[in-house]
Symmetry: C2
Subunit: 324 residues, 2 copies
């Protein structure tokens, strides 16, 4: 088994050397821009860690690793248009920099390129890999649709929210792990347990993201603080706060999310004050703890030597405790 | 071999019975709307005709036929956003009816569903089918990128235009035929000759589309007459006219395409007058004839009995002579 840091370094270098720019530039320049923005490269790392756990040389999974990162970046590219997000990783989003049309189109070609990379894998693995990617892309679109739908609704439950983020975020982490397992020829039951680990880890990861949106340093996080509040995103913090707040406060919270205001600073400040008044951060941190335990329980069921799981355990803890 | 009309009827019924509406409706309602708008169902028909030509029962190709139609409709959905097209098949386009965000997202899920249908085919055919679809989707995006780029340029050549429409239109027809051939287990050389037929047929088909945009009846064609002119699309008619026109007229044509005007009626009328003055329609009809001959020559090289090719020959002639 390889060291976690070694694999992380390998992933960073793999993406540093990719060059997606080619003709026509109108299409591939925004593509290359997106891919060069960096990011955690978490999904490719998961492909490689899964392969490594099942004793396949992680350096044999480059194509699947690139494929899943392309698929992920495609979803970000289109989501940023729909969410009108100005920044991604501290830089202007593609639609802001190149315009909506080019953002749509370069996302579309990135989508196909994800499949194109999968097609470079061993032929006998292709049907399973393509099935995994396709299923996850359908679910991510459904998750984004629920997310859009929630913006129009005032009766979203915590349970619905968890379903939405599972679809929008977790399934992609689970798919990355599954791809590594497929390439390593893992057994179906192990693959399923590992996917379950990815699903729960993804939920914990997204809940942590919700926290970081409110309490984080702009430079470290690379996004605008409180952007979920400005966008009226009914995150777990909002849903928990509305549930816990007394009559006056819950109405005030809902009003902030319903009424149009241009005073975003005041809105963010007041909403975060209310989140703090009801201490929803610690509620959400408890949820994160509970999903992390579920994730580790699932990982426990994978039939490989305990020490083979060390990297995934270390990574899971890093993700849950991350500050950006 | 089956009758052309029988296969056409089968394709129509196949799509009439599809129901893509499911939860979340925000995602699948625009999807179902798009698929219920109808259209020629040309690409699924080509899948089936190719299978039938190579002696596979065409009724065994439903999944690939649905896949290619989904892929085609996905491209229309996103293109209509980029081109700001108000109408498609005489009805409001998805982005007009449901908004840009839902149009982007339902296009994205349609894209994945295309792969999902391919995955229902025999496992041993999946890698080749996925490769065909992926390659074509990349090319279609590149074609759309060139199309967008041409709007900004004043030195587009006829040759560049033909390359662009090959990418944007023809490759999808070629891919449809190839999928039918893959399912029927045709030989590589026959598949390639058939794809070539599709490529040339696609060019002829698109050139005919350019003609129909100017000289066609709105009710029959289902689009707004002269919309290419309003959108400053440098179609083959425009490029040919600019090349043939005398000094004053070519400047006038270029000016119509450069300057902003709100008097679209006058613009369309005057541009079509100039097209007619230089008789570019008959030039383009000659090109169509020449690409049709190339298509039929390629079909001729496919190693099956001559009468097995009758349906494709009949269809090709119908397409080239169509009035809508």
């Amino acid at each position: 088994m390889a060291e976690l840091k070694e694999i992380q370094k390998y992933v960073t270098e793999l993406f540093a050397k990719q060059d997606f720019a080619k003709q026509p530039l109108v299409l591939y320049e925004p593509f290359q821009y997106t891919m060069s923005l960096g990011g955690k490269r978490l999904r490719p790392l998961l492909v490689m860690l899964a392969a490594d756990m099942f004793s396949l040389d992680y350096r044999q999974t480059d194509n699947a690793a690139v494929a899943i990162e392309l698929a992920h970046n495609f979803t970000l590219l289109h989501d940023d248009i729909m969410d009108e997000s100005p920044l991604r990783r501290g830089k202007p989003t593609v639609y802001q920099k190149f315009g909506t049309d080019k953002a749509i189109l370069s996302g579309d070609v990135m989508y196909a390129k994800a499949y194109d990379y999968l097609l470079k894998c061993d032929t006998d693995k292709i049907p399973q890999l393509v099935k995994t990617l396709t299923s996850v892309l359908i679910q991510v679109c459904e998750g984004q649709a629920y997310d859009m739908n929630f913006e129009q609704r005032n009766d979203v439950t915590q349970r619905e929210y968890i379903t939405m983020i599972s679809l929008k975020t977790s399934v992609l982490l689970a798919a990355a792990l599954k791809m590594g397992a497929i390439l390593a020829g893992a057994k179906a039951e192990d693959m399923n347990a590992l996917s379950e680990f990815g699903l729960y880890l993804g939920i914990a990861f997204q809940l942590q993201d919700d926290i970081l949106d409110c309490w984080s340093d702009l430079n470290e996080f690379g996004k605008v603080i409180g952007s979920d509040i400005v966008d009226n995103k009914k995150t777990i913090l909002f849903l928990t706060a509305v549930e816990k707040a007394d009559n006056g406060d819950d109405r005030e919270l809902i009003t902030w999310y319903l009424e149009k205001t241009n005073d975003f600073q005041k809105k963010k400040q007041r909403v975060i004050e209310l989140f703090e008044k009801y201490d929803v951060r610690s509620d959400v941190e408890k949820m994160i703890g509970s999903y992390t335990i579920k994730a580790l329980d699932a990982l426990d069921r994978v039939n490989v030597e305990q020490n083979q799981k060390d990297n995934l355990i270390t990574l899971a803890k890093e993700l849950i405790n991350r500050k950006k």
